[in-house]
Subunit: 138 residues, 2 copies
DNA sequence: AATAAGAATGAGAACTCTTCTCATTTTCGT
DNA sequence: ACGAAAATGAGAAGAGTTCTCATTCTTATT
């Protein structure tokens, strides 16, 4: 396990943090709730408390290692930071998540914020729909 | 009090529903949580249970009288339906909420959904920032 | 490598928002 | 006005998340 990423983020290289980071980096699923991370670690035999998972994910978010999303459904979803901003389109049927970037939308948002007199700090855009597979399968 | 709106929406004209609807229609604040509605009714001497407020707002949403938003911060916020779709820009400092419509963004969203193979059902766009007043005052 | 000080962890309590349960009350067609 | 069906209110319960605090781990220093 490599602790340099944590150190670079200003976090001590503790075992739980290393395990969580490693899991996020090796998982094929990119968007996970705290509970998802907790369960996955348990199943792979790692002993990490749920409170720690929440704490660590929040720290990772503050450190910019991870991005937190508020998809519909109430619980936070975390995603490894990949450097490039993107928005999400999700399937309301199966929960699938796809990503996209649209420069035109980005520009319009900046324009709107300026027009309304806001200093824009952030934005979130979610498109909901039924994905191709779910349209076929009923 | 006018019960025709409720009847039109397929809901019995009960006292709690009338009071809640009237409150939503006369309030100057347009975006309110269930708790906000509950407290406001209490203060004006109306006896309505919190569970009923939640239930009724959810029914109003299903009936299309009201739109539910998931602003950051965990709790649902409700807004009287005004016929015309719009998105929101909110101040992270004072909580102020402004509305906007941008046809270009709407179009791009449809295009993206189509490209990704989704049958779009809905979308949510929130811009966060610091409003003009808050920029001046610190 | 041992130590000591401070930070992090884990278990469960606690908290917030929301929904559920069910006995009681209200609505509305007749 | 009556009665069946629906709605309400109070509190319990549930989901997700944060907090508390005693114990354990990390790391800088010997």
């Amino acid at each position: 396990m490599d602790s340099s990423e944590l150190k670079r983020a200003g976090l001590k290289a503790t075992l739980p943090r290393l395990k969580i980071l490693e899991f996020l980096e090796t998982s094929k699923v990119r968007h996970m709730s705290a509970e998802d991370v907790y369960k996955a670690l348990l199943e792979s035999g790692e002993e990490v408390g749920l409170a720690t998972v929440y704490r660590v994910l929040t720290q990772f978010e503050a450190a910019g290692l991870v991005v937190r999303h508020h998809f519909e459904g109430g619980q936070s979803v975390f995603e490894l930071e990949q450097g490039k901003h993107h928005d999400h389109i999700l399937c309301v049927r199966c929960g699938r998540v796809d990503e996209f970037v649209d420069e035109t939308i980005e520009e319009r948002q900046k324009k709107i914020a300026k027009e309304k007199g806001y200093a824009m700090t952030d934005h979130s855009l979610y498109i909901y729909g039924v994905c191709g597979d779910c349209q076929k399968n009923g």
